[in-house]
């Protein structure tokens, strides 16, 4: 399959910039090109092969001090995108930034040629092998799998002289399935994403098998406050989004952040360190610079329990009288806004086994549903345990069902029960250890 051609994308971006230059104070062209090859398996077998090619540009201008934005994938009429951006700038917000006059990319390796080289036939074989492995464990599991390859190029040019581009590859393996027994539905999913093909597909399938095995036994749980361990996936899926919202420069500026008045204060367990770090090679969530050309960096958000930093893009930083932290990310149709890149929770000092051993009755939570619902600003979370296991006398005894866990991320992390000594990658943008809450509200259905 053809790789993405950076040169023509550059030409396109330059042509748009040339048309805007001279008519506005500042102009920036964000251009992207990508080719995706998803190989998908449904109901235990190959279902479809896809090729998705995408290409588009976004133009941000500052005219008379105001910001206008237009984006298009209709690349036969470049004048239209320029005229629209200028027209809209008359209504736009006041610009509080200067685009970077040069872009100094952070050295980070994100294009792995192994992803480019892998043949569709190999991808198909890998997917089928994962499915066969799970079905060899239990043929009643209805499996789905995916082997996805993404190759992309991002190009950034601005009228002040800044220019940069980078390629990124990502390779994703997904294996999982559904096991229905009576009216009991069990769905287990394992997935991993890296820039290259170095993901152990057998290990991924075995992890799915391990969870299916543990989950087959459904055990009751009591409604009361009890210790709850979140697995790395649980940490990523349930807890981190609350920090993301609270520490966004935008929330701080608006006064909607529950942590904005705590900057510099130790309000969390001293073992808790949370870092935004998009400089990790081989991790698809990384990038050499953000979507407005500011170099990425390692930014501590929570440093040993202390609220250390909020994250900013150029405009939000300008409004707040701060500096951009290299966190200006965007979709092509939107202006950049503060967003985290790769988020890492530092490991602690407890072995997972020791953590479990100290629990008389508790839960190990892998995923929850409905947690996006509650009030994300307040730190409250509440949801149904999707995949979670009962801990009894230090041992995992089976899966819990019809069980809800609720708490407040900020209040309940003041003092943690513990943090495990190993952090694991979750997908392509989070690395986290197991986190133990000494006590959270657990409620369960007592009758049908």
């Amino acid at each position: 399959m053809a790789t993405v051609t950076a040169s023509s994308l550059t030409t396109l971006a330059e042509r748009i910039l040339d048309r805007a230059r001279g008519r506005v104070e500042q102009a920036e062209v964000y251009a992207f090109e990508s080719a995706d090859t998803p190989v998908d398996f449904e109901a235990n077998r190959l279902k479809s092969l896809e090729t998705k090619e995408a290409r588009g540009v976004a133009l941000r201008v500052v005219k008379d001090g105001r910001i206008g934005l237009a984006s298009t994938t209709k690349l036969d009429d470049l004048n239209q995108v320029v005229e629209t951006a200028i027209e809209l700038s008359a209504f736009g917000a006041e610009a509080k930034f200067e685009l970077p006059a040069s872009i100094a990319p952070t050295p980070v390796d994100l294009y792995d040629t192994s992803a480019e080289r892998i043949a569709v036939e190999q991808m198909t074989a890998l997917g089928q092998e994962m499915i066969n492995r799970v079905r060899a464990y239990d043929a009643d599991i209805l499996c789905q799998a995916g082997v996805h390859r993404h190759l992309g190029t991002t190009e950034l040019l601005n009228s002040r002289g800044g220019r940069g581009s980078y390629g990124k590859s990502s390779y994703t393996l997904v294996i999982g399935g559904q096991l229905i027994r009576g009216q009991d539905f069990l769905s287990i999913w394992e997935w991993e994403r890296k820039c290259g093909t170095g993901i152990d597909h057998r290990q991924l399938a075995d992890e799915a098998i391990r969870k299916f095995d543990l989950a087959k036994n459904v055990v009751p749980v009591t409604t009361r406050r009890m210790p709850v361990i979140f697995t790395p996936r649980g940490v990523a899926g349930v807890l981190l989004s609350r920090f993301g919202v609270a520490l966004s420069g935008k929330s701080v500026l608006q006064g909607s952040s529950a942590l904005s008045d705590k900057l510099g204060q130790q309000v969390f367990d001293p073992r808790l360190t949370l870092v935004d770090d998009s400089t990790r090679s081989g991790i698809p969530g990384s990038s050499p610079f953000d979507d407005e050309g500011i170099a990425t960096r390692r930014l501590p958000l929570i440093d040993r329990g202390t609220v250390a930093n909020c994250y900013y893009d150029l405009q939000t930083a300008g409004l707040a009288g701060k500096e951009s932290t290299g966190n200006g990310y965007r979709s092509p149709g939107s202006l950049p806004s503060p967003s985290t890149g790769v988020v890492m929770v530092e490991p602690g000092d407890q072995r997972l086994e020791a953590m479990l051993a100290g629990i008389e009755e508790g839960l190990l939570v892998e995923s929850m549903t409905g947690t996006f619902a509650g009030n994300i600003y307040s730190g409250d979370f509440s949801g149904n345990v999707h995949i979670g296991f009962k801990i009894e006398k230090g041992k995992l005894t089976g899966r819990v069902k019809d069980t809800m866990v609720a708490g407040n991320v900020f209040a309940d992390m003041k003092q943690l029960g513990g943090i495990s000594d190993v952090a694991e990658w979750v997908g392509g943008s989070v690395k986290a250890p197991h986190i133990l809450f000494a006590e959270l509200g657990v409620s369960t259905k007592t009758s049908a």
Binding site: T73, L142, S187, L253, T369
Partner: protein, 455 residues
């Protein structure tokens, strides 16, 4: 060359069971505010297309922005399908249609000056801020868009459909000490800009609700009798039952087919759940789905009994049922998958007042912030909630989440109101990496023994 002629030409003579092409162009404008300040205005034009081919039950799919070389893209999709297909392609038959479905708008969204749209939003934001010094901030957004999709397949169907939508959303955050609470007003129309105008009282009400939530206490988790307002009940129908009725979840899943066997009783005789895109003016409304199948109303549950499910041509074909017009794609970048359109619980004979008076201890849950299902289990967040004590609304609650097991919960709906309404702004449903606008409607319902999450 004219698009129709071009599409028909490249669709001819392929060694595949089925080939279709979609070409899509959208134009959308958005305005957004951060607090009182205007933050962003942007316009997006998106032009692209896709080809999908089936061969012996396998699918190939190619999407692109560059419309040149359509012939080779068709060939590529066919080649991919042929690599996959080893069984048989079974597509339920649908009529060959040649049709043009123009916009049904009352007032062209694009003809309304941007300055008017901005002024309207400025007014709403002022109203929200004027309600209380405890208003911490607002997040407001206006969006409108127009989408034209041209569909052609090798059976001779050729359809051009144009749709539009305008939405206004004002989210209000209130704060007292460290406690932050939120509420929102959301308006939407498929056809009429004027439906967004003059709704200041509803924005004021949203602000007042956010402030009121500051005094609300977290609910004590456990099992309760719960009354849901029409908005929340409609989400329940969507999340809890709608997804399980989607043919793609069922057709290759022997166990689920046994559970979802037509004729099985799921609830009382007062329970009727239906889905259909053939309702005028709802977010999930259209004349033809993304496989060219005409839309229609499908009863999922009638008088408590499972009577139907939602299908694409493939899931219908494989199950020996009729296509229902539920194959939808978010855009040309995606293959159509089985989706709900406008899903509702139909009205019965009770009323909110009767439900309340009949509830000694329970919770009244109103509106929602999102929902999710894992087939048998569902969970959604309530925007507002109150304890019910001795048949009357008592203290307000915050952070209330409702969850449960689908099968027992449907059986436990003991009262259904006569006061049916569609939720104006509908919702956006995510599935398989695609988002689709959906309509949702219901009357008030009462559920016995629902699990409510809290401290």
């Amino acid at each position: 060359m004219e698009l129709r002629q071009q599409m028909e030409e490249v669709l001819r003579g392929h060694n595949a069971d089925y080939v279709e092409i979609r070409v899509e162009e959208t134009e959308s404008t958005h305005l957004s505010y951060r607090g009182k300040d205007f933050e962003e205005i942007g316009r997006t034009v998106d032009l692209g297309g896709c080809v999908r081919a089936a061969y012996k039950g396998g699918w190939g799919f190619v999407s692109f922005n560059n419309l040149a070389g359509l012939e080779e893209k068709v060939e590529m999709a066919v080649r991919q399908a042929r690599l996959v297909g080893k069984e048989t392609t079974q597509l339920a038959p649908v009529p060959v249609v040649v049709d043009v479905v123009p916009l049904a708008h009352k007032r062209d969204l694009l003809s309304v000056p941007l300055a008017d749209k901005k002024r309207l939003m400025d007014e709403y934001i002022d109203v929200a801020w004027s309600r209380s010094p405890k208003i911490q901030t607002t997040n407001a957004a206006y969006g409108d868009g127009r989408r034209q999709v041209t569909f052609a397949n090798n059976e001779g169907t050729f359809i051009t459909q144009e749709r539009s939508r305008v939405t206004v959303r004002v989210q209000v955050l209130a704060r007292e000490n460290g406690n932050v609470q939120q509420s929102r007003a959301a308006f939407s129309s498929m056809s009429d800009y004027d439906a967004m105008v003059g709704r200041h009282a509803e924005v004021a009400d949203a602000a007042d609700r956010a402030v009121a939530l500051l005094a609300a206490q977290p609910v004590t988790g456990g099992e309760y009798t719960v009354i849901c307002d029409p908005k929340l009940a409609a989400v329940f129908a969507h999340e809890a039952f709608g997804h399980l009725s989607e043919g793609d979840n069922v057709y290759e899943n022997e166990r689920l087919r046994e559970i979802m066997v037509l004729g099985r009783r799921f609830g009382g005789v007062h329970l009727n759940i239906a889905d259909g895109a053939d309702v005028a003016g709802q977010p999930g409304s259209f004349k033809y789905d993304d496989e060219g199948t005409p839309s229609r109303k499908t009863y999922l549950i009638k008088e408590g009994v499972l009577v139907g499910r939602l299908h694409s041509r493939e899931t219908a074909g494989k199950m020996g049922e009729a296509a229902t017009g539920n194959a939808r794609a978010q855009s040309y970048r995606h293959q159509p998958i089985v989706r709900m359109t406008n899903t509702c619980i139909e009205g019965a004979n009770s009323s909110f007042e009767e439900m309340l008076a009949d509830t000694k201890l329970g919770i009244f849950c109103k509106d929602w912030y999102g929902g999710q299902t894992t087939h048998e289990q569902f969970a959604f967040g309530c925007a507002e909630a109150w304890m019910i004590r001795d048949g009357k609304l008592a203290e307000p609650l915050r952070g209330t989440t409702l969850s449960g097991n689908l099968f027992s919960t449907l059986q436990n709906i003991d009262l259904i109101g006569c006061d049916f309404e569609w939720t104006e702004s509908g919702g956006n449903c995510g599935k398989g990496g695609q988002t689709a606008p959906v309509g949702q409607g219901s009357p008030y319902i009462r559920i016995q023994k629902a699990v409510v999450g809290g401290k």
